[in-house]
Symmetry: D3
Subunit: 242 residues, 6 copies
């Protein structure tokens, strides 16, 4: 059976900037990667669209959805789901939580990805992580929809927020995404509404490549990595070798 991963993205573009490399890399390795976009980011992260004439909420959503689907395709995403729960603020009621639990149980992810724990600029982001932890817990409950396969204990990786230091986010793992950078770059370019962020996240990826090299071999050695992504683990790992 294929390995699997699950990305929980507050808005429909977050998964691109923050973990598109991880998605593409694992897809190439045979993982089936599912992305859940809790909202389209239609109100709060679509400024460029709203400046166009005759714009409506539905048009924004459609545009954002199309962009996200195009990016997902570029990355080899197995399944992308849009929960359309609204943004700014995002609100996830019990029904929506259970819907998310259904996805988690169906996917049975080997690992999960979501936002940083703190984000004073964007409360939707930290709320999404709170929901991710809650849904992970429910999915582990034997008494929730008894008979279904319960969830194990997948790692929850927190992907890189904008302005990492302000979010009190500290990466403990760097993933070399050099082999799939072209795919991430394609996905980034699919985000036509946020062109102002393209170059920024290319810089981020390059500099995380430097961190990959630095941490794999010291100041003057290490393995070359042109592009990397950083992640913060919520839970400890279990290993047989250090």
């Amino acid at each position: 059976m294929a390995k699997t991963a699950l990305v929980i993205s507050a808005h429909s573009a977050d998964f691109v900037w923050r973990c598109a490399g991880a998605i593409a890399l694992h897809a190439e390795k045979g993982y089936e990667v599912t992305v859940v976009c809790l909202s389209y980011g239609e109100r709060g992260e679509s400024a460029k669209l709203w400046k166009l004439p005759d714009m409506t909420l539905d048009k924004v959503k459609s545009s954002r959805r199309a962009e996200a689907e195009k990016a997902a395709q570029a990355l080899g995403v197995h399944d992308i789901q849009f929960f359309d729960l609204g943004d700014y603020p995002l609100e996830v009621d019990r029904e929506a939580k259970y819907r998310l639990v259904d996805v988690i149980r169906k996917v049975q992810p080997d690992f999960m990805l979501s936002h940083s724990k703190w984000d004073p600029y964007n409360t939707d982001h930290m709320y999404a992580t709170q929901v991710a932890l809650e849904a992970r817990m429910i999915a582990q409950a034997w008494g929730h929809n008894p008979g279904e396969k319960v969830l194990g204990a997948p790692q929850l990786y927190l992907f890189e927020p904008h302005q990492t230091e302000q979010m009190e986010w500290k990466p403990d793992v760097f993933l070399d995404v050099s082999p799939v950078w072209d795919k991430k770059w394609a996905a980034i370019q699919a985000m036509e509404g946020q062109e102002h962020l393209w170059h920024y996240y290319a810089n981020v990826a390059e500099n995380r490549g430097n961190h990959f090299m630095r941490n794999s071999g010291g100041q003057s050695g290490g393995r070359k990595s042109t592009h990397a992504e950083g992640f913060q683990s919520v839970f400890p790992r279990t290993v047989d070798e250090l």
Copy 2:
């Protein structure tokens, strides 16, 4: 060439309670594990000996050394070195730091192990970690003994202190040491002067086994582990798969 690991232990018994399982396990895997005991713990961690009649500092050191060597043998330690720098307080001058750097460069460890960053009960412990970081840095310097092979970027794992919460120590990796528990138990029993800690650290190992299981598979699943050890990483990892 064999893989290698290096343990930097403030006092001669610390490596037993805190990472004997990791030592034995990696030794079985073919690692050459070197242990550096910065002191014998002769003044501060040998209360039982000092209560005996006619005790002297030299006798305490000899006894502590014998115990440590016996433990090292039980664990399959490749090399154990006693720097005899004194304890309570431990003081490492520049010459001793360079001696430690020599060991680090000779060993070229794949990973290093030392104490927690904070320990208000035992300032020797946190000082040893400060020295470990400093020596690691010096060993990376191309201008230190030019011509020698410089150090890469080995992880520094902080092993489990006594009273973890007071030391602000948070494990991010659990190592299953079930297969070598008998060796760790033998090493523990070699510490005749600190018998009051035997049962305590057996309990710790069992409960860390529970944490291993919990983190490898949730509340009701996970891989069985009778004994485990926890470690806190100082540096981020570099990986090709999450």
Copy 3:
């Protein structure tokens, strides 16, 4: 008038693992200890029961309630109340909060006990503490049910979570529960559905006994304690002697 204490337990078994010693000890001292179980833990903490054939939510609740009552009896609990608010996730609406405030005001506890502030494994736990703080505040309000006796400023002790370091929980007080260990052990054994935790929490109690001894008298002295429990205080103490 009798002194009183109040335990706010997210699920019906939490009070046993985490503070049964404190309950039994204070009951012996004449305190009237009230336990509020916000839920039975029927969905998320009853895996063993759900693996039995023909299990239903009501059967699980009944079984969990019976276990909790048996434990309460073993500990000398004055009053145990089951709010039956559901678990995984626990949700406490305004009406339920006011019900909790009613209990607090009636009990007028000298101190309160609840969960750690952070728990990424179990969001019910940290939510229960948030609710405890909120209810404590409401109970202090002169304008809430005017005429009732308002609450003073009881300490809120956070009892020991599973995997303390991951919960960022740091005990600042150790309570010697050696005299009542047999009662705690009886209460633990009443938790038939979670037998996998019995030995774990016996180990915890023994090792906290070591911490009690260590902190009452240094590395080689201190008062003997076979079993202890640790707690983290939320509020500062007020004293007439250090």
Copy 4:
């Protein structure tokens, strides 16, 4: 056009103790300062009133409102709004959030002021700040009431809580309010229901004046300040000179 500031106060007296100096000082400089009182603090912060005979919720609210208006007048507040959302606990539903967003957008504040991020004594306080961050985010969304002027990125200053250390509040800016201390003192005296706090906050202002002097010129120099207020910034500043 006048510069503007917005204070978001959980209860109707908070703005007085915590930032009356900032309000009066900026009012004198020509800022239009708007104060939003989310509640009157009628249930939880009006003990003195509730001890009077024949007291009702409406009477308490009226009295609290009158006090707040008197204080606002003394300080030169441009506009004070009472959302009357209830206290102990304060609850802000989506409609009320949008009402707050309307105010924010209308005011277009150069900076905002609210409570500390953590307050175990008073969950209303930290909740107000959470709401302030959420409302700030919504006010920045181009898709929220399209056509309105969206909010820029005003600083959110957290004003001084009671028992600062327990609230994990750390001021990074001290404002000299010596020139307007008489106005703050008048506003404080308008809080007739909480006379027990008058002297306390006069002491606070004097000691913050010491901190102002200390930080503006070292142990034996610095600019004299008889009274000051401290604030913690949530966001980084952007400057052209350090």
Copy 5:
């Protein structure tokens, strides 16, 4: 035998501002309180003296010593010792550490008092605490001056620094010093060289009295305290009742 306490003060006046109340109160209770002044604060905390004509280091030391002795007498200090190690920077070599250990062992304090762990304004302060922890550890070592009575595990209380929030100091215990305030005030007035701090620390004591009341009984109750002092505990307590 009398109970005992030990204060370790970086400069000769620190013990007055920060714990004179605790000293006087415990002296009245029969404790023998010893104060060790590691330096006179002759270089860094004697600005007023240095502004006088013809001042010399020896004159400053004499003046500072006289003030400290006068304060000690007012407080009922059992023994005050001046180590005269120099200040700005304070440096404590091994010999001086052993001298401090000698005092600790002779006093066998029931509790110790020293500075906050962090102080970017005054590195002498945090260094003194580091030394206090180190000396406490050495005093516990059976191999240090074998035959002497080793130290148990006294609490180390960190007394209140100037600008508490900047020092990351958080009090967890408030001591009511109302009964001895007149003695503390007399001791404060003995510090003639630092008159600019008198009023400041009177305000601190009054406001800590408010915190005492608040934490002993809620917003509208609690035990009246006109003056109090706050302390942060380094080690957990061991108790038989919560």
Copy 6:
């Protein structure tokens, strides 16, 4: 009289990567900026040079010095001083501290710049900041070289380390260095021995420019900045307007 600033750089290149923009910008504004290089980074940060044949410590120092002087000239540095104290590890004895104090007093800086408080990769860096704080304190002492002008209370800004998150560094101020980017770029290119860092720090400057814009005007507004630098303040500011 000219305003002044002082940079304390552990190794001779640190001031370039981390605050060359601030230096050039303030120099253009008329500040006299002094740079103190505590070491040349000759052992630990000159890998490229050590790989050349017939290299000696003196040759490395000369080369590093020449690079630093060239960079200083490009930036308009007023004075650059090389303390030549050695690196990996850097050690600053009392005499060297006093030499640094002499510089501080002579410069009387309006603000100071140094490294992050924590750096597990490079203990020289955090040690330099510890020394900077200690020297700042000594420079404020009236009894240190009585008669000299004592230091006021200049801010100490911590400039950006490599791998900010690992260093627990959080910027609270962003400085727009767009107008002097060409100068910083020239200074960077003077660091011929560390060409592998050029592109990295160009990316950093661009992305900090994004943060400048973001924090000066929200997600879709703000003031354009092509390049910026971030700094963390150690001390609170004192202001007359928020």
